[in-house]
């Protein structure tokens, strides 16, 4: 099981370590640094590294490496999942998962790690239970703590751990009972030079924010549940009901959580809401090239596409770019060679375009590779797959909750080859 955890920042400092069994020397991280050096880019550090006596399994999140040390044959996914859970918990507690936040709350961090893992076995990883055990820091509480000398350790033991629904704490009370669902869909797509779709799929999630008193039993039904054939569920969902009736039936955890995630992959269902016309060319034996891209709406279901950003990793030989944008603003970082164009909204009457000249290093050969365009956008009030929530029913409690569903479509890994 998990032996130790090291937190390492981008400059290679180990700023936190925690051992659940015996102490493993920091020097074990040298193997990690070695791999990091080899990988050149931080994102390319292999997640599983073997050393003569240990295995290092690491994740890279928010510019931090979470490196865990294991000694026996442990499922690596188990470790990786757990590490992500640790990062999620920090995010949840401190609002951000950064070196500064962790250093500021080092006591809480240790308390959390102690509760999350017992002798390498996961103990309490549900945010609900953890928050009962260790209260998240708030400004008010830190003031009170510094005056009274008390700590964040809760004086109750987690009652949820004893129940059959470990994800929900008992005795929840709200004056306003609310249940909100966000249906968020991301389009992952690869569009080739000619504009046809090489690959496209939709990664969807339904995130919930449930603030309901007592033990509500909810069931959520869809207009078109057939869309969902590849789903992962939060443990609270009763799988049998879903299998037989295609209804999500569950006793929700308290607060924010991800109810389901799903994938829609059949290509005809994946609409591509934007198109890009591009013309990027470099002239042979000359130190300049042309750059011209235009973005327009495609299958946008009548909604406005907003928040458009185009990111291009230009070839290394590009020195500078002289462009004019009809809309929005662009920046080019000559060090990383990244061009970012913040477009904003598309108005069909006047399509936004960005064109101009590219300056290359003189004498350098014409670059072989053509840069890929990475596009971000957002469409409000639309789930591009067409998924629609039908109704939400609540059983088990008497009150009438406020209910709400919000849809949003975003670009995920949306890539246009040129």
């Amino acid at each position: 099981m998990i032996h130790s955890l090291f937190l390492i920042n981008c400059s290679g400092d180990i700023f936190l370590e925690k051992h659940w069994k015996s102490v493993v020397s920091q020097s074990v991280c040298d193997y990690f640094f070695e791999a990091q050096e080899k990988a050149a880019d931080v994102e390319n550090v292999p997640p599983v590294i073997s050393t003569p006596h240990h295995y290092l399994i690491s994740i890279y999140r928010d510019k931090l490496f979470f490196v865990s040390v294991i000694q026996t044959e442990v499922p690596p996914l188990f470790v990786i999942e757990f590490l992500h859970r640790v990062a999620d918990t920090f995010q949840d507690y401190f609002g951000e998962c950064s070196e500064a936040a962790i250093k500021d709350n080092v006591v809480i961090v240790y308390e959390l790690l102690e509760e999350m893992l017992d002798n390498g076995f996961p103990l309490a990883t549900e945010s609900n239970i953890l928050k009962e055990l260790i209260k998240p820091p708030t400004i008010l509480r830190s003031v009170v703590n510094s005056i009274t000398g008390s700590s964040n350790v809760g004086d109750t033991l987690p009652t949820g751990q004893l129940s059959n629904i470990p994800w929900r704490r008992a005795g929840v009370k709200y004056t306003n009972n609310e249940a909100y669902f966000d249906v968020i869909e991301e389009i992952d797509a690869i569009i080739d030079k000619s504009g046809s779709t090489v690959f496209a799929e939709i990664q969807g999630v339904i995130d919930a924010c449930i603030k309901l008193s007592g033990m509500p039993d909810l069931s959520l039904s869809f207009m078109n549940p057939r869309l969902l054939d590849d789903v992962s569920f939060h443990p609270c969902i009763r799988f049998k009901r879903w299998e037989s009736e295609r209804v999500l039936s569950f006793i929700p955890p308290d607060g924010n959580f991800r109810l389901i995630s799903y994938r829609v992959s059949s290509q005809n269902l994946v609409a591509i809401p934007v198109y890009v016309k591009h013309n990027i060319s470099f002239k042979e034996n000359s130190s300049c090239g042309r750059f011209d891209i235009t973005i327009g709406p495609k299958q946008n279901m009548g909604k406005t596409i907003e928040g458009i950003t185009v990111t291009v990793h230009m070839p290394k030989v590009v020195l500078n770019m002289n462009l004019t944008a009809t809309q929005g603003s662009y920046t080019f970082d000559p060090v990383t060679k990244v061009l970012t164009w913040d477009v904003g909204k598309i108005t069909p009457q006047k399509l936004p375009s960005l064109k101009g000249l590219v300056n290359l290093q003189s004498g350098a050969p014409k670059p072989e590779e053509n840069p890929s365009l990475n596009i971000q956008f957002k469409i409000q009030q639309l789930a591009i797959s067409g998924l629609k929530v039908n109704r939400l029913d609540m059983y088990g409690e008497k009150y009438k909750p406020f209910k709400g569903v919000k849809y949003i479509t975003k670009a995920g890994k949306f890539q246009v080859r040129t």
Binding site: P47, V48, H84, S151, T156, D230
Partner: protein, 951 residues
């Protein structure tokens, strides 16, 4: 410490955990509190105490903690029990002996049947962890009841608990396919879990148990369909998760390509994937490539070949080559894609392309040679050894089509000593090839390279290869041509697949580190821990042979060359690139020494035997041990009339079946990855069989046995497939009787009774050769009519005769006769001449060759003299002489010394197991016609005799 303030208590416990080790004496003082807290009315405090206790790693304290722990393990509250279960694992880590002595392990096993799912999960987790450090202890022996408990708990416990339970389930071996199916049905819902580790563990269980399901089952198809979506979903997770998932998918795709065959697109590389994800995706894309999707794949690969990342580009170019080799229909497109890439003139792309084009040439020779010109243009830009070697290989291989091949190779030769070994070896071979193809103009070049390789090089490989070529060329250029320019075996895409047995083992380790490294845990798990080999369960379904394509068809058409043998040639070709010539068709001779003596049975061996006749008792005498079991009743009164003789012969003859040699080791375990085969041949009531004893001396289970014979002199072939009903577990021995027939195809072997056998199992294919005693080929109707015997005896030409003597056989004529009859050698007549018993005998071989024999028994002389005549048209006498010897006087065990002494005492020397005969001049007359035959000098016929059999 005995505070009621919970917060304070927690902090004190935390302090204890961290500092107990440095102050063990102080820590002892805390024991009382733990004992007390373990009896607190609040279950949460009891649990907290038991949890903290286990974390205090002080030996002295642990024994005091046993009592409270025992109580907590039986606590009424599940939360306490579940915490206590983990505490056992902690304690075991500190003091394993103590835990065993206190019986905690049994208590832990009981907890598997606990009513609370969390307790079950934690008990399983604790047991798995303990079991891992003690692989021998049989901690997790599961039975259908406990499996049922686990499956129930699976639905209700936390995600981490589900992982432990699923991993535990995966080590269970269901007793039949129905149980496997019901477990699968209950595990399938886990595929929709949000936690990817749960999903992958569930996939492991399903992949393993699927092995037991019959493919005809509807459920099998359903399951296949259900497996695809969760695997694809794993790919949308964080890159680290993707990486582990991809490594596992790589295994799954090799084992069951049908699962993901329609999901090619999800493996398309996104430009911002981390490199480790990109490379894995590429690998899987090739594995999934098929005729149906090859166009898409190629388009993608071409796209990747223009990316920025050098490593990735290289791999993409290689992938195009692999596609060409894998999907034949696409080869042309792949080649043209590669040519396009070469036109880009990007250095590393060109080099990779040339390396893969070489492989394409090896797969499709004489098809795409038109591209050679383009390749030659890029000769100068090659700076990597592999690409240079590939280019040189191409030039050498197609020297006759490249006009300036000699110039090209010469240009490489200039810097010969600066090249890497790979290039040097290749250059040497290529120039020799060139020389053999265009001998006139390249003589100087070949001289030059040979002297460079043999005289100026320090590399032994290079020197050796140089010398081999040199000698070959100087002694026999024709042979050199045959060797160097021989047809090469084609390469196939199999080369980069994981070996099937390893793959099966890895499938059992899905989701673990082993699956990430694609190595069995034994290859990297640290020393002291023993490793339990896991293997897939055997399929219980009926359609076995149909669905395991790699299983060689057992009892394949006889006479077909063992299909596996060319693999050797392939290997050799790859290893050396020596172009060694056609694959060796004969399996290596691994017969046990016992049987080696028979090698000179035929041909030259016999010639020399016959030559020895002149000296009376020649140098080849096979002394036999005394056959003490039979009374030496040598002077038995025997009537003179032939009629009497015939009567007598009918009276004797025990029909208990022919002589059976004891089993000899044919294939030692060392040579066959742990499989030991010993055996013998028997003939009983008209049927021949091969009695085999298979012993598994390896650590893994063996299954999928099959056997094949090479063509042999008498057309021996298995009459039925080799049936080993259950997999052979380590140290198990199974006895099998394989029925044989003689309808296989015939090829003369040397020695005549040599049999080359290939045995296959799930691990590998093994070859051995053995010698069968000829008497198994003597048929039951080998008793010749008296008149016929007379006529035949006269007709047989002289060259078909052999004589020898059998020593130390103190049997009387009657006993000899009955013994021989048991082996289907029938006495036709018997008479007494000058105090000697003369036995006239006949036998018939399975290929209808008749053999007649005259046996002289002298009372008081333990030696027998034998004259053999093989009936025309086929002359077999010589070879039979020895086989006859096999068949009688078999009461003694043989020894296997190889000394040759001319002794008639009881010394044994047997070069052959039961060889008791020796060629000797015989002056005895033909039974019916008086003296007629006289010894003749050996004639070439002896070698012809063997040839005739093969004809």
């Amino acid at each position: 410490m005995q505070t009621d303030n919970l917060e304070l208590k927690k902090l004190v416990y935390l302090y204890l955990m961290n500092y107990a080790k440095s102050q063990p004496d102080m820590a002892i003082m805390a024991v009382n509190t733990f004992v007390k807290d373990c009896e607190d009315p609040n279950p949460l405090i009891r649990a907290l105490a038991v949890r903290t206790m286990g974390c205090i790693r002080v030996d002295k304290i642990t024994e005091y903690l046993c009592e409270p722990l025992r109580k907590c393990l039986k606590d009424e509250d599940p939360y306490v029990r579940k915490t206590a279960a983990v505490c056992v694992a902690k304690l075991h880590d500190i003091n394993a002996q103590l835990v065993e002595d206190q019986g905690f392990l049994d208590t832990l096993k009981d907890l598997i049947s606990d009513s609370n799912p969390m307790v079950v999960a934690n008990a399983v987790a604790a047991l798995s962890e303990i079991a891992e450090s003690h692989p021998s202890s049989n901690l997790l022996d599961l039975n259908p009841q406990s499996i049922n408990k686990l499956l129930t708990a699976l639905n209700e416990c936390t995600e981490w608990g589900q992982i432990f339970i699923l991993d535990c389930l995966a080590s269970y071996m269901p007793k039949d396919d129905r149980e496997a199916q019901s477990i699968c049905e209950r595990v399938t819902p886990r595929l929709s879990h949000a936690n990817s580790a749960v999903v992958l563990s569930a996939v492991k269980v399903l992949m393993k148990f699927m092995e037991m399901l019959s493919k005809d089952l509807d459920y099998y198809g359903t399951l296949l369909k259900k497996l695809a979506p969760p695997l694809v979903t794993l790919l949308s997770a964080e890159p680290e998760l993707q990486y582990v998932a991809l490594r596992n998918i790589n295994l799954i795709v090799q084992k069951r390509p049908e699962i993901l065959k329609h999901e090619m697109k999800v493996f398309f590389v996104k430009y911002n994937d981390p490199i480790y994800v990109k490379l894995e995706k590429l690998d899987i894309m090739i594995r999934l490539a098929s005729q149906a999707n090859i166009a898409q794949v190629l388009a993608e690969l071409k796209e990747y070949a223009t990316e920025v990342d050098v490593d990735f580009v290289r791999k993409a170019v290689r992938a195009i080559g692999r596609c060409a080799i894998k999907v034949e229909q696409s080869a042309e497109r792949c080649v043209s894609t590669l040519l396009d890439l070469i036109q880009t003139k990007v250095n590393y792309v060109v080099q990779e392309a040339i390396v893969v084009i070489k492989d394409i040439f090896r797969k499709y020779p004489n098809k795409y040679e038109s591209v050679i010109a383009t390749l030659c243009e890029n000769l100068d830009s090659l700076d990597e050894p592999e690409a240079r070697a590939a280019m040189i290989w191409i030039v050498g291989e197609y020297a006759e089509r490249i006009d300036n091949a000699d110039e090209l190779l010469e240009s490489f030769l200039e810097g010969f000593h600066d090249e890497s070994t790979q290039v040097q070896l290749q250059l040497l071979t290529a120039i020799v090839k060139l020389f053999l193809k265009k001998p006139t103009e390249t003589q100087e070049l070949v001289q030059q390279v040979l002297s460079l390789a043999t005289q100026d090089s320090d590399n032994p490989d290079l020197r050796d290869r140089g010398y081999i070529y040199w000698r070959l060329l100087s002694t026999d250029p024709v042979a050199a041509k045959e060797v160097v320019l021989a047809e090469k075996p084609l390469i196939s895409e199999e080369t980069d697949l994981i070996e099937p047995t390893l793959l099966d083992e890895l499938i059992c380790y899905i989701g673990t580190l082993a699956s990430v490294y694609h190595k069995p845990p034994s290859a990297f798990v640290e020393g002291s821990r023993g490793v339990v080999h896991k293997s897939l369960p055997p399929r219980t379904g009926s359609s076995e042979s149909a669905e395991s394509p790699e299983a060689a068809p057992t009892g394949a058409p006889p006479g077909e060359q063992p299909a596996v043998i060319p693999a050797q040639g392939d290997l050799l070709g790859d290893l050396l690139n020596l172009d060694l010539g056609p694959p060796v068709t004969g399996p290596p001779l691994t017969a046990a020494p016992v049987q080696m003596g028979a090698v000179d049975l035929l041909g030259g061996g016999l010639d020399s035997l016959m030559g020895d006749e002149a000296e009376g008792m020649g140098g080849t005498n096979f002394a036999a041990p005394p056959a003490g079991t039979m009374p030496a009743n040598l002077g038995a009164p025997i009537g003179g009339g032939l009629g009497d003789l015939f009567d007598l012969t009918s009276g004797v003859g025990s029909l208990s079946g022919s002589y059976v040699a004891p089993k000899a080791v044919w294939l030692p375990a060392m040579k066959a990855k742990g499989l030991e085969i010993s055996g013998t041949f028997t003939r009983q009531v008209g049927s021949i069989s091969m009695d085999l004893l298979l012993t598994n001396k390896a650590l893994q289970v063996m299954s999928d046995f099959a056997i094949q014979f090479n063509r042999n002199s008498f057309g021996l072939a298995p009459a039925a497939p080799l049936q080993v009903h259950a997999p052979l577990s380590p140290n198990q021995t199974v006895e099998i009787s394989l029925p044989l027939n003689t309808v296989g195809s015939v090829m003369k072997m040397d020695p005549l009774n040599n049999l080359q056998v290939a045995v296959k199992n799930n691990i590998d294919v093994f070859y051995f050769s053995t010698l069968y005693p000829l008497h198994i080929l003597f048929v039951e109707d080998g008793k010749m009519e008296r008149q016929m015997f007379l006529a035949t005896w006269k007709d047989i030409p002289n060259e078909n005769e052999a004589q020898f003597q059998i020593k130390d056989c103190p049997l009387n004529a009657e006993a000899v006769s009955s013994k021989l009859q048991a082996s289907n050698i029938f006495t036709i007549a018997k008479r007494n001449v000058e105090g000697q018993d003369m036995l006239y005998q006949s036998l018939k071989l399975t290929n209808s060759i008749w053999v007649l024999a005259e046996l002289r028994v002298q009372p008081g002389n333990p030696n027998l003299t034998v004259r053999l005549l093989a009936a025309p048209p086929r002359s077999l006498a010589h070879s039979l002489a020895h086989s006859l010897a096999h068949t009688h006087t078999d009461t003694h065990t043989p020894t296997h010394t190889h000394t040759h002494t001319h002794t008639h005492t009881h010394t044994r020397e047997g070069r052959l197991q039961h060889q008791e005969e020796e060629i000797l001049c015989s002056k005895s007359p033909c039974p019916l016609e008086g003296p007629r035959r006289h010894p003749r000098p050996p004639s070439p016929a002896s070698s012809r005799a063997g040839a005739a059999v093969g004809a």
